[in-house]
């Protein structure tokens, strides 16, 4: 599965469009991580645990999107975008979406 946020893949051409696929996950914060975070809010600095949390959630969203594309029989997802929205305090939704396509090797250029 090729995942790209560009509209084309060099050396390949799109033979079939299968529509928009998406994957999302709603992630809540952890109380214990929050204790460290509120301390960091005093002295400043990177909230490593939050960075990890967001990365995990984003990976999960990507995986779900790939699953959906696989179910449609696609072999690539193009024009992938990410979106984040805060639902309530302490919970965020991470969304990944893109266009599922079937690509094949192109003989011209």
């Amino acid at each position: 599965m090729i995942v790209s946020n560009m509209e084309e893949i060099p050396g390949k051409r799109v033979v079939q469009h299968l529509g928009v696929v998406q994957g999302s996950t709603v992630q809540a914060k952890n109380v214990f991580r929050d204790i460290g975070a509120s301390l960091k809010n005093l002295v400043g600095g990177e909230l490593k645990s939050y960075t990890d949390l967001m990365n995990e959630a984003r990976q999960e969203a990507l995986d779900r999107m790939k699953q959906e594309a696989e179910a449609l029989g696609a072999n690539a997802i193009l024009n992938v975008r990410f979106a984040t929205s805060t639902i309530t305090q302490g919970a965020a939704e991470l969304l990944a979406y893109g266009t599922a396509v079937v690509v094949e090797e192109s003989t011209i250029g």
Binding site: N5, S38, N41, V43, E46, T51, T86, A92
Partner: protein, 160 residues
């Protein structure tokens, strides 16, 4: 009299001490962070990042790979206090500007890092996104998440 002075210390003394402590820790952490970012940026100088959408024709590119990097950076107590003051008279909030800069540059560095791990040396169609994260329940704490993502390619030498 004694009770009043205790109250005064609790209401103004403790926050004042926190602001002073946060000023020193915050600027120390920020300086160290900027030094680390600059060092990493120099190390990753050979990985090019562009915000273009089309693949340049004269580049022989291998299989694309989506790469992203992100960083969540928190404010400190002093920055928050200074921003609160700024909120009264208006204008640029310099303390928050550096916060966003740190988060964004760190995100780009991590994106390039991931591209290098996958053997890529060029990242195209780079997008930057910023999200705000609430940490505290009642008293809202401020932290920003910056994310950078793009498509990594490996540029083969024979193609140019």
């Amino acid at each position: 009299m004694d009770e009043m002075s205790l109250e005064f210390v609790l209401n103004f003394g403790v926050p004042a001490v926190l602001i002073v402590v946060a000023y020193f820790t915050g600027s120390l952490i920020e300086q160290r962070h900027f030094r680390r970012i600059i060092k990493k940026e120099n190390e990753l100088r050979d990985i090019l990042a562009f915000a273009i959408r089309r693949v340049p024709k004269d580049f022989a590119l291998l299989e694309p790979k989506l790469v992203c990097g992100s960083a969540v950076i928190s404010v400190d107590y002093f920055k928050k206090f200074a921003a609160g003051l700024r909120g009264i008279i208006g204008g640029r909030i310099g303390t928050y500007e550096s916060l966003f800069e740190r988060a964004r540059r760190e995100a780009i560095v991590r994106m390039k890092d991931e591209a290098r791990r996958h053997g890529g040396n060029i990242v195209l169609n780079v997008k930057l996104e910023t999200a705000r994260i609430y940490a505290g329940g009642g008293r809202a704490t401020v932290s920003v998440e910056a994310m950078a993502y793009g498509t990594a390619y490996s540029k083969s030498d024979g193609g140019a």
